[in-house]
Subunit: 360 residues, 2 copies
DNA sequence: GGCGCGACGGCAATGGGTTGCCATGTATTG
DNA sequence: CAATACATGGCAACCCATTGCCGTCGCGCC
């Protein structure tokens, strides 16, 4: 008696289903990819046979003829930075909803790594979300010419962008510090290649101008806890009473670095960060910070990307702006709350004229 | 004069290169995919022509005939948990070295999500690394039948595994607590579906037995800061002087939860965590914890997976065991360091007999 | 009765490399 | 010099689903 089972190592294809269901392969294909194009009874029969034979449509083969992989790339600057966790979640959720798979690329804060990874991945994805890209505008535009691209946390002309309301965030922080009596704010800068770094500084300049608060900048430093600790060293040389850090990780580094040097926070120095990462609530004192809707960022950017992939024009006018809010914790306080108490000497000295101090 | 440039919207294929270089398409293909199979001069010429024409080999098309996508999936339980950041890095690095791309899947601590995502992704990847899977052994074995799979942080018979030395880590923690004079240890359990959770508890039982230290377990709780805070509530009902938490996030939740209730750490309670996440060094007091070589885990698992994909047998004997070490910070101290000082009442009362206390 | 139209299904080309097998030519060996 | 081996390149089948185009058939309308 002949064995009618097919060799188990062989994939079941539409051709197998077709001959078994006594239709042509194209009908089988249509039964799955455009059911309306085929008689519903036929479609049902085909589906039954497919089920019985264990047929699974091959996404790889489909890819070749449709030129769609149903995959998108999500590029982040540093997976070690917890801000990205929620962004990734938001993006993944949106992608999954749209039947897309996400390829995560960790650029490790490196322009070169980022570019290389994208170049390798580009041909296999239908679109790209660039979260906090460290590449040049022109590099990004070049990629945007080849595939749909949405940029997150950065505004670039002619490329669809999603950003948070940095000016408002900075403004709120400055107002908060101003209300506490601070009249000088030092900005501790992050990577120069980071767009939010630039706009935060410019927003600070502007807010300082309007609210009559003096501002200066030190840095750049690495946007990490270690970077913040290094900034703390420099702050000891050129002291401040109020500090706005590029992000929470740096702010945490500052808290630790200054704390180790005997500086009291918020007694001697008030510190404000950006992002509201989980750890902001863990350090002592708790970090006052500008919170962004991280999940919404990832999700909005991804949804926009998907519409572009589906053929929508990709709205490159003004970037989409997401709201922020100030979360006040214990790292900020009124300036000199206890005037009777001896101030550490470093607060007393006037900063020496120093070319690195960009503005005072 | 005729225009010899090709229509710009048309991809350059091996056929274009072939006719331009005056060889057959197969030669072009081989010039790229097995250069040794073709005369080096010919190969060079082909490469030059390809360069001139701007030819890029299409990974999609290659995929169809080789049945290799050069992609692997990395499944993690919760991208919000910082332990995975380093694991992801290690895995990415190893994958990139091997010319593979990584698809990251965040299971969000859900068995179902994990399974569904894997099912969707399976057909497009060459292999899978399961880091801290929450699925059943049988589900994992089923996947392992269809694709090469390496399991991280879990030991399953007949599936290649990479684990850290949990027994030794627990042992070191128990020794440490023992030396500090603790004779009871409470284990605060994480997810029941987590394999490390099980083995940590069993290792604790064993170490307690040998070192004559009594142990009990409470939980399970969610392996998050919030979970740890909930555990803190329960600990107030049934106090302890030494706690081993399933992971650092829970330990941090405990520190906060107990701290808010006026419990002094480490004065009243010593706490030990697992993983040595960055935040362990940020909380006050700093968290004593069992550190695992996270980067090495991701990298080792991935490298092993790649060898399996290349056809190696996939060594399913004993799991590969990675070493751990105890990082002592400030959350552990000698029991009752200041005997003169009034102990909080909750430490004095004997725990009531309670069926939920699995062992005392 | 003749004509137009929509529904349905099949044919065959297409997407772009990969590879087993064979043919030719050159080099090595006895 | 014959015989065997190896290097090299081409042919054509193959991977598997998608889709433009066409033929057929049944139905309704003038």
């Amino acid at each position: 008696m002949p064995d009618h089972t097919r060799p188990p190592d062989k994939r079941v294809t539409i051709y197998d289903v077709a001959s078994e269901a006594d239709v042509s392969p194209s009908t089988v294909s249509r039964a799955f990819s455009r059911p309306s194009r085929v008689n519903s009874e036929t479609a049902e029969r085909v589906r039954q046979v497919a089920e019985r034979l264990g047929y699974r449509t091959s996404p790889l083969a489909r890819t070749l003829s449709t030129a769609r992989t149903q995959m998108i790339a999500l590029v982040i600057a540093d997976i070690t930075n917890p801000v990205y966790a929620e962004i990734v979640r938001g993006a993944q959720e949106a992608a999954t909803d749209g039947e897309y798979t996400t390829v995560l690329i960790d650029a490790q804060e490196s322009d070169r790594r980022e570019r290389e990874a994208i170049e390798r991945t580009m041909p296999t994805v239908d679109g790209i979300v660039l979260a906090s890209s460290r590449m040049s505008d022109s590099a990004i535009r070049m990629f945007a010419k080849q595939r749909p691209v949405v940029v997150l946390n950065r505004a670039i002309a002619d490329v669809p962008c999603v950003v948070t309301d940095n000016p408002r965030g900075v403004r709120r922080a400055v107002e908060h510090l101003g209300e506490l009596g601070h009249d000088h704010i030092t900005y501790v800068a992050g990577p120069e290649a980071s767009w939010p770094n630039g706009i935060r500084w410019r927003s600070l300049l502007e807010a300082g101008m309007e609210l009559e608060i003096k501002v200066r900048q030190i840095g750049p430093f690495s946007p990490t806890i270690a970077g913040g600790e290094r900034a703390a060293e420099e702050l000891c040389v050129r002291p401040a009473t109020a500090v706005l850090a590029f992000n929470d990780q740096m702010a945490i580094g500052l808290i630790r670095g200054l704390g180790q040097r005997g500086v009291d926070i918020p007694g001697d120095v008030s510190i404000v960060g950006f992002d509201n990462i989980v750890a902001a609530d863990l350090v002592t004192p708790g970090l006052t910070t500008v919170a962004a809707p991280l999940y919404a960022e990832g999700s909005a950017a991804t949804r926009h990307l998907l519409t572009m992939i589906e053929g929508a024009p990709g709205h490159t006018g003004r970037p989409m702006v997401l709201p922020v809010r100030l979360v006040v914790r214990q790292s900020t306080a009124a300036r000199n709350p206890s005037p009777g108490r001896a101030r550490p000497p470093w607060v007393r000295q006037r900063p020496a004229a120093n070319p690195a101090a960009r503005l005072w």
